[in-house]
């Protein structure tokens, strides 16, 4: 099934689940959906015989501080081994309400993947059996992969991103 057929098929089976879609440079189709629908969509992608995306390759969070109300994102990478097709599912949600339904019911592998994204971005996966920090120390109080936490000493001026292709939004307000 190619990208267009996949989208048409999904629109027929689950009307309204796919909000928008795009194909990236690497040829992988990305589906945007709402977080209320994400587990149903993932389950559909996994269990439907026509679709057959049975393997959860990875999932990761991304922080976009500029997008008001949609600061955090989770990107799921699924893979259909029979037809060798990959697909991405993306959800966006506000950082003030970082609750996302857990995919651990669908894939055992989601357990540590979700713990990792909780650890680094503070995404709260509802229904996760054991949502604790995994790589950082237990008593850490911040979610270090969020963009407001700079890696290096803020007084350095030789690495100002404004001069290197980025407008300087990232981390600017925290100078």
């Amino acid at each position: 099934m190619d990208s267009e057929q996949t989208i048409a098929y999904l629109t027929e089976k689950m009307p309204g689940a796919v909000v928008t879609s795009e194909t990236a440079v690497d040829g992988i189709l990305s589906l945007h959906t709402a977080r209320e629908n994400v587990i149903a969509l993932l389950q559909m992608l996994r269990d439907d015989e026509q679709l057959g995306f049975h393997f959860l390759t990875t999932l990761c969070a991304v922080h976009y501080p500029e997008q008001a109300g949609q600061e955090l994102s989770i990107v799921y990478h699924l893979h259909n081994w029979q037809q060798n097709i990959r697909i991405r599912v993306k959800i966006f949600f506000p950082i003030d309400d970082p609750h996302v339904p857990s995919a651990t019911e669908l894939w055992s592998s989601a357990n540590w993947m979700e713990r990792q994204e909780y650890d680094f971005f503070g995404v709260l996966f509802t229904g996760h059996p054991d949502l604790r920090r995994i790589l950082n120390v237990d008593d850490m109080e911040v979610f270090p992969m969020r963009k407001e936490y700079r890696l290096e000493d803020g007084t350095r001026t030789d690495k100002d991103d404004r001069f290197f292709g980025r407008d300087g939004h990232v981390g600017q307000e925290f100078d």
Partner: protein
């Protein structure tokens, strides 16, 4: 299979459970990870792994490093096969910037990657031997690994954390000494390797220890996100080199070995066979090495020849741009993966046009499959748990990133 039902009835428990801290620095675990085990005598009732002891914030670091400076970070993921990680990263960037590299460079990369796969599997398999009490094979196989490292040294100057290759190809052509060393290796290694295999693969003691230790079914392995030799040992023939060929893997003929039971013995045998297949690939790549350049013509990413920098204006400009990271990067996102020593090593890169990645996520096979460990060792003996861990080839660097 009897162990699975050991705890099905509470009658088997003698009522005295002990807690055992296995690790973080335990000589039997070959790396820094902790497992808090609930033990009933010598049997494991439950295990709780704690990881992150060597976490170095690679994903955060990568957001603050220009693209060419991320390669050394990837070295330190699975440090038993650093070149594969390096190439995986180069391929990711090349996919983003849309750069095709010459056939010769691709073949060179394949040789390097397969050599490091051999090194990776040699460590794992000889250590399985050590954990069953057979130290001799290990000492001989480490001499062979040493010879592979000497070849890496010829190509890039370093041994373990290689930083090998560059975005757009290889950093330099193979040296005459490399050719000599590779030819000698290809001649002498197979016999020594088969001798090592002969010591273990049909050895009664070894088989008794390994068969049935730490098994996992194909279904569970897929649900747990297994890839690589551990998945293939469970009977699923998924291999990135065949599924989505990169770096000209489609040019070579090789087989994907698979096992049946997903236990320690199958993992050992699968890795043994993969070493033989890697040798096949190296032979084909080396014998059919195409003529041509060892890097693509991408001056914006690939450093010019040093003498040119002093004499040619164009080269000087590009040198400055590469060093100062003033190269414009396309906006976009790519997922690219290679078959690492432990399975699908993926890079998910989001670029917003800045000189550093906006977000770089590593799909680390060790991190994903190690969560199945408690399930695999439940009900088994402590000594089998040690063996299971070494046969899964959990590398702390890749686990903790």
């Amino acid at each position: 299979m009897q162990v699975q039902s050991y705890f099905s009835s509470l009658d088997n428990l003698d009522g005295e459970l002990a807690t055992l801290n296995l690790g973080p620095t335990h000589p039997a675990t070959h790396g820094i990870f902790q497992n808090v085990l609930k033990m009933d005598g010598e049997r494991i009732v439950s295990a709780e792994p704690t990881i992150g002891y060597i976490h170095r914030a690679f994903e955060k670091l990568a957001e603050h490093r220009p693209y060419n400076q991320i390669t050394p970070i990837t070295d330190r993921l699975n440090y038993c096969s650093s070149p594969i990680n390096n190439m995986g990263w180069h391929l990711t960037v090349e996919k983003l910037i849309g750069c095709d590299i010459p056939k010769r460079a691709q073949y060179m990369r394949v040789i390097i990657m397969e050599l490091s796969r051999i090194a990776d599997h040699l460590v794992c398999n000889s250590v399985i031997g050590v954990d069953t009490g057979a130290l001799t094979g290990f000492t001989y196989m480490f001499q062979e690994r040493e010879r592979i490292y000497e070849m890496f040294e010829e190509v890039c100057g370093s041994r373990l954390t290689t930083n090998i290759g560059r975005i757009g190809g290889m950093e330099r052509d193979f040296t005459p000494n490399f050719h000599k060393k590779l030819k000698t290796f290809l001649q002498t290694f197979p016999a020594r390797f088969e001798e090592f295999g002969g010591l273990l693969s049909r050895n009664r003691i070894f088989m008794d220890r390994c068969i049935g230790a730490g098994p996992i079914s194909a279904e569970r392995a897929m649900a747990y996100g297994f890839t690589g030799p551990n998945l293939r040992a469970a009977g699923v023939d998924y291999d990135v080199r065949v599924m989505t060929p990169y770096s000209s893997y489609q040019d070579f003929e090789f087989d994907i070995p698979i096992g049946n039971h997903g236990d320690t013995y199958d993992r050992f045998i699968v890795r043994q066979e993969e070493i033989r297949q890697s040798l096949r690939i190296i032979h084909q790549a080396y014998d059919n090495m195409p003529q041509g350049d060892y890097h693509a013509d991408v001056p914006a990413f690939y450093l010019p020849e040093k003498p040119d920098v002093y004499t040619k204006m164009e080269a000087l400009i590009y040198h400055f741009k590469v060093v100062m990271q003033e190269t414009p990067i396309p906006v976009g996102e790519v997922y690219s993966c290679v078959e690492g020593g432990n399975g699908e090593l993926g890079f998910y890169l989001i670029s917003d046009g800045g000189r550093t990645p906006y977000r770089l996520h590593f799909r680390r096979p060790c991190f994903i499959f190690y969560q199945a460990y408690p399930e695999m060792i439940k009900g088994s003996m402590l000594s089998d748990a040690i063996l299971t861990m070494s046969s899964m080839n959990v590398i702390a660097g890749e686990l903790d990133a």
